[in-house]
Amino acid sequence: MGRKLLLDKAHIEGIRYYDTYRANGGYAAAEKALKTMGPDGVLEEVKKSGLRGRGGAGFPTGMKWSFIAKPEGVPRYLVCNADESEPGTFKDRYLMEFIPHLLIEGLLISSFTLGANSCYIYIRGEYAWIPEILEQAIAEAKNKGWLGKNILGTGFDLEIYVQRGAGAYICGEETALIESLEGKRGNPRIKPPFPAVKGLWQSPTVVNNVETLAAVVPIVNIGGDEYIKYGTGKSTGTKLISACGNINKPGVYEIEMNISVEEFIYSDEYCGGIKNNKRLKACIPGGSSVPVLPANLLLKTAKGETRMMTYESLADGGFATGSMLGSGGFIVMDEDQCIVRNTLTFARFYHHESCGQCSPCREGTGWMKKVLHNIEYGKGKMSDIDLLWDIQRKIEGNTICPLGDAAAWPVAAAIRHFRDEFEWHVANPQESQTRNFGLAHYADPLPTPAAV
């Protein structure tokens, strides 16, 4: 059994409520941080822990925190990014719904470290039942003296507020989120200035993902040096993976970052193998924007090494033969799935979610959707495949925010690894309406994975 740091108490009856959470060691880290470690002590441990942003980008959290500007007399803000909208990702929802106090404790420690007296949780609007759970936890914590004025007699004040979004993927991008929190359209800002200098209401702001902020609690509890031991290399600690698609046991799993992709998919502790005894065709390991990998490149790298569930190993081979750990949205596709159709749904998604500020993204995502639609519905031409490639290249790197890249990568990877499937669609416009291409990519049927 893998060790857990975030969900180790998730199974305890009543852990959603303060008394149970506290009785099981909750708020011990907050006490330690506020009473004995001080802001610099916490920052030091977070840096030592090697914690990387869990929202998708994987930027070192300690470094992000050390960038925050500290001009005299200007308030600083911590914003918790709970916009969780990357297709395939539903891990933060689990944390907030079942162990809200873990997040509140993480917010308290992090705000204390950053010197922020107001903290906003920006949660996607569709999670409409969760703000009540969070607000109840905040009220409980406040009632017990963990929020409000002069917390634990340290002179530190903190208020936490929950703000609902209203349906916009782009608001997961930190500057778009800030715009939205200011009551505007979610149009990303040009950087610099970075939020650490000019963020919410032009004040220094740190925006971190829910899981990142929750992970600060175990880091303070066990120390950065100990946290590193849960993982390998630059992939320290544990990671929440939300697994979905054609697997036996979809759900949210906390893994130590030292297990193989094969173990994650096939072992009963995690996904439990492919549903209905089908064979694995492909997988998007880190949320819809990261490159899709065919089964042969998913389980082993191009060099023939075992592919691990880590930032480094999933990225091994770059985009030519690798992918990314991203947000941990792990989408598994079996032999019956159509790559063209799947890519079309993502192109449609990004077109729908483009804020429209930058023309390469606004126009390009629309064209990709149209061309993919034609191919999927038997009206494609061979030249459309190159056209798609051309469009995605012209989006990538040419936009203010990474949504453009996020829209381009899935299309590029699908053509890179499954070009024969696109060609088959074009060459067989009628047949492709009645059946899928299946596993024809592989000269031999895929080997059954070794028992895990």
């Binding site: 969780e84 909208s85 395939g88 979004g165 209203a166 349906g167 916009a168 200011e182 979809p250 596709m333």
Partner: protein
């Protein structure tokens, strides 16, 4: 058409929301207040409703319109009493959302974006709602309905009809 005016209780809620932000930053309350307004005034935002929100928050009406039109959860046209928002993005698609959407269409006799003649149901397709492990799914009001099957859809429709009859 009833006058657009929040109840005392809702007005207090608006005040409480504005108090979350620094002095003079009440524009930040716009999205939360639009949610309140949509709930209070029939599940959608009419021009009158948006103008009312603008007055309440001391904003120009255009500042409200541009936000209301940006976010997909704000309905700019009337919708049925029960709004079925079915996810159709990749993970739901590989788990059979296309069949669920087709089933609802047949069952209710409406297309995507349409409302039944009795005004009870509207069908909308939406993009990823973050319930990929529990697909196929839809949002109904404040909550998610997950692991959908035709039988479950039947139950949900019956449940809505029963609720409507009770009112």
């Amino acid at each position: 058409m009833a006058v657009v005016q929040f109840s005392e209780e809702k007005l207090n809620k608006v005040k409480e929301i504005i108090a979350r932000y620094p002095q003079g930053k009440q524009k930040s309350a716009l999205i939360p207040v639009l949610h309140l307004a949509q709930e209070a005034f029939g599940g959608w935002l009419s021009a009158e409703t948006m103008d009312y929100v603008a007055t309440l928050l001391q904003l120009e009406p255009i500042e409200v319109y541009e936000v209301a039109t940006f976010y997909s959860m704000f309905n700019l046209k009337p919708v049925g009493t029960y709004l079925f928002e079915v996810c159709q993005t990749g993970p739901c698609m590989v788990s059979g959302s296309d069949q669920i959407i087709d089933y609802i269409k047949t069952k209710l006799g409406i297309g995507v974006g349409e409302t039944t003649a009795d005004g009870l149901f509207t069908l909308k397709t939406v993009e990823c709602l973050g319930a990929c492990g529990y697909a196929p799914m839809m949002q109904l009001g404040k909550h998610y309905r997950e692991h959908l099957t035709p039988a479950k859809v039947d139950e949900i429709i019956a449940e809505c009809r029963a609720k409507a009859n009770a009112n």
